[in-house]
Subunit: 112 residues, 2 copies
DNA sequence: CCTTGAACCCTAGCGAGCCTAGGCCTAGCC
DNA sequence: GGCTAGGCCTAGGCTCGCTAGGGTTCAAGG
């Protein structure tokens, strides 16, 4: 999954894995890779800025923990974050459905 | 559908509507809007550059026609365009499935 | 007649956002 | 000592959709 097919949906993906439980940044990358079945193999330079932005926007909160000398920053989804995630899931569904209709060639959704 | 959720998938969408039959640029916009159920309402400044690029890449071919004084450029999908579309459909399916797995929370696809 | 709006075409440049490419630290193994 | 894996970070590049502007003809309305 190269070339940024992901564009515009990354926030949702990060929020989704963190909604299942707090993780530190590096673990978010591994979790995304695992859940997607190796489809999403994102570089650190992609994830860290997203985490920082989401925290700045109040959708994530972070705490520093000390694990055997190594400092880690663990992120948790805030209440606002869960709300945003729910909204983004809806948007994804709408987008995905719309793409499906265009690809399917049907001018109107088959299921009304 | 604002904010470029579409990013990275627009080529596929344009190829898809043109694969159903030749259209001119303006009609591509209307067809995308119609098929998506008003989800994709793209400005001309988005579509025209894409059409030009796809033609430059050999995925589309165009002819100028004269319709009652108004010149039109009608686009057709080339053989290479159909091949690219097929590939992009596969990529979309893979992407969409991967997103589904991440959102679903399953580390492995439920349907093997 | 003149304006408005729809149907068509086009392009320069902005801006959001992902990624490349670098940098830093500790722990553990050879 | 050197190397890898686990962890953190950021400046800047590049891609690409979109904004904002430009043009034309035709039909309708004032």
């Amino acid at each position: 999954m190269r070339g940024s097919t992901i564009k515009g949906h990354l926030d949702m993906l990060v929020l989704a894995v963190l909604a299942a439980g707090p993780l530190h940044g590096y673990a978010v990358i591994e979790e995304l890779r695992a859940r997607s079945g190796d489809s999403f193999d994102l570089p650190e330079g992609t994830i860290y800025p997203v985490l920082h932005r989401l925290e700045r926007e109040g959708l994530l909160a972070s705490v520093w923990s000390e694990a055997v000398g190594r400092p880690r920053r663990t992120y948790t989804v805030t209440r606002a974050g869960r709300k945003a995630l729910a909204e983004q899931r809806r948007a994804w569904q709408a987008f995905s459905d719309a793409v499906g209709r265009v690809l399917g060639g049907a001018p109107w959704p088959a299921t009304i």
